[in-house]
């Protein structure tokens, strides 16, 4: 029985690993090909199957005047917008979540749960519903096609995620912990940042990770709310596609696009695998 279990376990782990990693390897291989290597026959291994070239990668940093598509600037734009919006969302979202978790709000028939639901309901709506209001809003305040405008829109998109995750997290931190901090001489602000916050690091990491992922992969709003001045990475990558699909540079740009997420995942994985998520508080 246990032998069969072990076998099945490793079988599925192997299967899943291949399933996940194979496309990456395929993309890595393709990014070093040229038109001929892609279109002649199925090839896998550089030097053995085909002659590798760096052309797919060079295109990404060449200026358009020299026939390239410069993704360096969109890349840093994406990093700036994602990080700024995530950071602000986490700070505001955590404060909002703490208030929603600890204090009782009453306004007519509205209670804490309704406010929490209001936040998450922003994510229930299909993005297309929000696109026109966002467009009019940004054009009215003159932030269309600007980094600041994108940051504002992404905060609207990311903060509900931060609130949702952190409310759930704070609800699992016993209220008696805050009370003990108050009794031990902390005022409510000190109780929050000296006691509650240090015990919420796993929650903050998870919320931060989700914000970064959702901010980084957004294509829709980046596409609608920008034109020529500012471009974000996902839009630029899609723009690579012309009459001839350049599989080599598409693969290369896809790899550099997911690289930051992979790095974040590896950093966060240390915290998750330590069991810090559930073990910090009981």
């Amino acid at each position: 029985m246990s032998k069969l279990y072990t076998f099945l376990k490793y079988f599925f782990i192997t299967f899943w690993t291949v399933f996940v990693v194979a496309p990456f390897l395929w993309a890595v291989s393709t990014s070093f090909k040229d038109f001929q290597s892609v279109n002649s026959k199925v090839t896998y291994i550089p030097w053995l199957d085909f002659e590798p070239t760096l052309e797919g990668w060079r295109v990404l940093i060449k200026s358009p005047a020299k026939g390239g598509v410069d993704i360096v600037e969109p890349y840093f734009n994406s990093i700036f917008v994602t990080c700024t919006a995530s950071l602000i969302s986490i700070v505001l979202g955590t404060l909002a979540a703490y208030a929603l978790s600890r204090f009782t709000f009453k306004a007519g028939f509205v209670r804490n749960n309704d406010i929490t639901f209001f936040f998450i309901s922003q994510r229930i709506m299909p993005p297309i519903v929000l696109s026109i209001p966002f467009f009019i809003f940004l054009s009215t305040i003159g932030l269309l096609d600007s980094l600041l405008g994108l940051v504002v829109v992404y905060i609207v998109l990311l903060m509900p995620i931060a609130v949702w995750i952190m409310v759930d997290f704070f609800n699992r931190v016993p209220k008696e912990l805050d009370e003990t901090a108050l009794i031990d001489g902390c005022n409510p602000y000190q109780a929050f940042y000296k006691v509650v916050l240090p015990n919420s690091i796993p929650g903050l990491i998870v919320a931060g990770m989700f914000c970064i992922i959702f901010g980084w992969i957004d294509f829709f709003f980046a596409f609608i709310l920008t034109f020529t001045e500012v471009q974000l990475l996902p839009v630029k990558v899609v723009a690579l596609n012309s009459s001839i699909t350049p599989w080599w540079s598409l693969s290369a740009s896809a790899l550099v696009s997911v690289a930051p997420l992979i790095i974040v995942a590896f950093i966060v994985e240390r915290y998750l695998s330590k069991g810090n998520l559930s073990g910090a508080l009981k």
Partner: protein, 359 residues
Amino acid sequence: MNLIGEKISYKPDEQFHLNDVSFNFKKGNLYTILGRTLSGKTTLLKTIAGLLNPDQGSISFEEKDFIKIPVWERNVAMVYQQFINYPHLNVYENITFPLEQRKLSPEQIKKDVDEALKTVGLVGFENRKIQELSGGQQQRVALARSLAKKAKILLLDEPLVNLDYKLREQLREEFKRIFSEGLSQDTILIYSTTDPQEVMELNGEVIVLDEGKVLQKGPAKEIFENPSNLKVAEISNDPPMNVLKGSKNSKNLNFENISLEIPNHFKNLEDKDYNFGIRASEIKLDENGEEFEIELAEISGSETLLHLKRGNSKIIALIEEVMNFKIHEKVKINFNANKFYAFGEDEKLVSSPYGGTNG
């Protein structure tokens, strides 16, 4: 210079959590609050700590209006029934936390913390993480943090209830020692519990609380000997005091077709109907006694609790040995008539074997 509460009421919803509670706690004394779960014990302690503001009434301490002082300036200490410590700090940092908050000198902090660690028996555990400790040790850390603060008011909210039986017995013994040697004469100690045995062992002044109301105040011995009414008799005994509806005439006590000779302390009692109270420990197995039917037999430690029934009366007898009984079997028991209490039909104490007749 006392901690005085006057007519405190707290009613956050339909029900009173505290209903017209008054107290006068003196420094250097131990007070126990006895009550069942949800009787308002925790609410009362939180009100004293300042975590809750009462709807009505006043609290003053050292002649100052306590309600106007925020929690973090009150200099109280509190130990919860859940083991509440700061999970991100180790044992030593947990205990220094309130002291650093008050900006004491490092030498003073070290001295106070070492002393507290010694008192609770956690020397050598300074660098342990909280999660690595057992429940009993976690509660010791919480207690050490409270002691190190040298707060003028120390609140303990059912500190032993979440511990297993053995540890509870052991910590209870230690508490008695800690309270007698580890506290200054400047401290008011308030200890809440559901366990009558803890109240008797700690032997302080007792407040019996039920549904937010104070039922009786007095020394532990007085509560035990002369519970002012049936409710108190029930709450302050474990198992609860047995109640038998019956009557007294010139010759006998009668209940459930049983006649007992009138004990001496009932001689002057009016002839009428009463609620007779008798503790489980005052009922013995006796070949020549009265017949009862066994409903349930529980063995706890070295004792057996017999749940018995006769007519409309259900009683519990505490047999001080481990015996096996069959359910629905008949047993014969005898009551120690000299230990009968008489409560009037209004449930107030009329006569007690210890001479109390406070109505």
